[in-house]
Amino acid sequence: MRSVAKTLSSSDRLASSSARLILMLLRARAILVLLLLLVLFSVLAPNFLTANNLSILAKHVAISAILAIGMTFVILTGGIDLSVGSVAGLGGMIAGYLLTQGLSLGGAVHFPPLVIVVFLTLAVCLSVGALNGWLVARAGVAPFIATLGTLYIARGAALLISNGKTFPNLAGTAAHHNTGLTTIGQGFLLGLPAPVWIMLLLFGVAAFVAVKTPFGRHVYAVGGNERAARLAGIRIPRVKLATYLFSSLCAGIVGLIIASQLEAAHPATGETFELNAIAAVVLGGTSLMGGRGSVTGSLIGAFVIGVLADGLVMLGVSEFWQIVIKGVVIVLAVAIDQLQTRLQARFLPLILRSSQEAGA
């Protein structure tokens, strides 16, 4: 038996529809901000909307976007991965080592072909992800601490590989049959840079998994109510492990892209990348508490940060101001997110009643 609710007054109804509109706008804030920025910069900077500039922009964005895509799943389960920057650096160093020093097996030095180099690099990065997953899911270490630890471990490992030095000349030599790295970061296909293609591919896979597969739903369930998810028979440790594995995989791919673009591997590569990734994810509407958000949002968030950075450079704004602005944007994004949650809670009874009345 429904409770006796008086029919909505017209002022209530007005409040309800404006609440709905506001909530809809808030939900779409990431893309609205992106469009706003694009318009703004194309007005202020003459060369902004050229195909060339946008292509370069996308290439820059691809780095944070790929990390953000990987980070999204982790954050959706209520975790976080601070190690992605270090893992990217580590990935680059592994590739650098294999391409310039080769592997010494059984007394002789072998130079693995590029495919094997990529495979081994990603395998090492995945093992960091496995460590993260084990620490968080089995050992019960808080994700912040676990991945902070692996941040340092991976960074240390990267430095140890070369004793702090850079591996140059990663283009490879024909004699060693290990050329081809440059295509990953510098190649072009149908006019788009290779990193952009990689980003789009990863985005496609991630978005599909998130929305269309049981695993994706499990990720959201774990983030929404872990206890309920466990009682529903979802294997929490496996889900969490998978998210950290994917995050590290993305980090490894980014490491390869950067090494390819620079044709060198620096052990310091990737420092502070994790913060950019997290910023992009949060900007895109994913809640740090888990259970709410989307891969699409993270992609848009990465573009917002990228467009903002590039636009400010084109306008000649000081690099240091850019850092301040980025911080302001992130804080605003989270504050607006809170506002959205609160507004939603406040107007929920009203919206519910009006939709009941409308028979929706």
Partner: protein
Amino acid sequence: MSQSPILLEARAISKRYGGAIALDSVDFNLHRNAINVLIGENGAGKSTLMRVLAGVEEPDSGSIFLDGVPIQLRSPRDASTHGIAIVHQELAIMPNLDLSENIFAGRELTRSAMLDRSAEDDRSRAVLTRLHHLLAVNTSASMLSLGSRQIVEVARSLAHGARILILDEPTSALSVAETQVLFEILLELKSAGVSIVYISHRLHELLHLGDFFTVLRSGKVVGQAPRAEVTRQWIVECMSGRAATSDIAQRPPHTGKRALHALNLSLSASSNNDSAQVALHDVSFDLHEGEILGIYGLLGAGRTELLEVLAGNRTASGGTLQAGRLSRLPRDVSEAMAGGIVLVPEDRQRDGLIPELSIRENIALASPAGFVLSRKMELARIRALVNDLNIAVHDVELPVTVLSGGNQQKVLLARCLMLSPTILLLDEPTRGVDVGAKSEIYGILRTLSTKGLSILFTSSEIEETLALADRVLVMCQGQIVAEFDHSELSDEALFSAASPAALKTSLYAS
């Protein structure tokens, strides 16, 4: 071959947690197509037994037979395969998913490795229709009331073909209307071939619904009987292990000085917290010095809201108050405390105790302190209180979590008494406390009242109200609808007054 009336038999189930024995060689018979009621005080082992049956926990020893065939239940999935489903007391709903997704969480329907949303939606719709709950399956679960969430959990069990449905305290958070819907559903399920296990404290519900009764005490089965042989007295005696005494002594009405005078208190229904609040309409009453005034009402009557207004935790939208040293409604809790009004909250886990702190620290928490904490003075008073309240512990430095529910409630009480209130407010004073500790707490409160403390408590338990109150006000939907002197009190009178008019055609005919 005729079917045995017993669908599931649990034999010699034992389980211990560390040093505590939760289940001691328990035999439990689940009758087919019936509502099997499981009763017991807190800590008696009911939830543990059900968790074992639902595969959430594994027993240390014992065996389970389904239709005479031994089965192993090592995980909720195992239980689900055998058709056993449980709806826990704290609902296991994911608020960020919609109804259909919640129903199929963990057991999604797929088509070539992809989620088959249309199949899931169809099945969910079918199940919800069967349960007379016509909500759009794409509604987000966060928008549902507690009653609806519970129905969704029942739907989840049915969608996966449950033959045995276990419900753990299903009505403790439901409104009267939602409870009635649930009962209708359970009766329908029963006739449709689902066997039900129903765990509850609410004796009148059990007597209304139950076909077979099992009583647990301290991890052992102490009574089993079909409905025809069960009376309220039998249940209470089994649960507490002693004959029920009617200790409703005569209590003369209080005509002494007025300790509290509330006039036309009102509260608007808008939500300024996470949850909507029940509105209060022109609540007026007096409390006399040394009197124990009980406010009885069902969930949603506005009792908690009233107490929180008096204690300064909520802002009223109208009305006046003269109480203790206060001449107006307190604006916040410290003002109320300074005025002599202290509230013992209902949910001690969430609103009362700090689990990381020790017993001493919890008791001392609210006390006015100098600039520096003075352990010596605190300790003396705390030890005295622990003694007076008979808190069963030798070392007050132990974390408060080692105590039983009853003792934890006493710790909360001790904290409030440290503030030397003149008016003590208690919201559900013995929620989650076993029968023995309950009478102890009643005794303590009565002693305090003879020493001059004025007490106002709310309760949704008739037994408690009868046992404790000198005078009773009944609230319903935000208003005071009846007042009873001690001599006028009776089960029916109270319950009748508390039910909203439309539902008065009694659920509780027995």
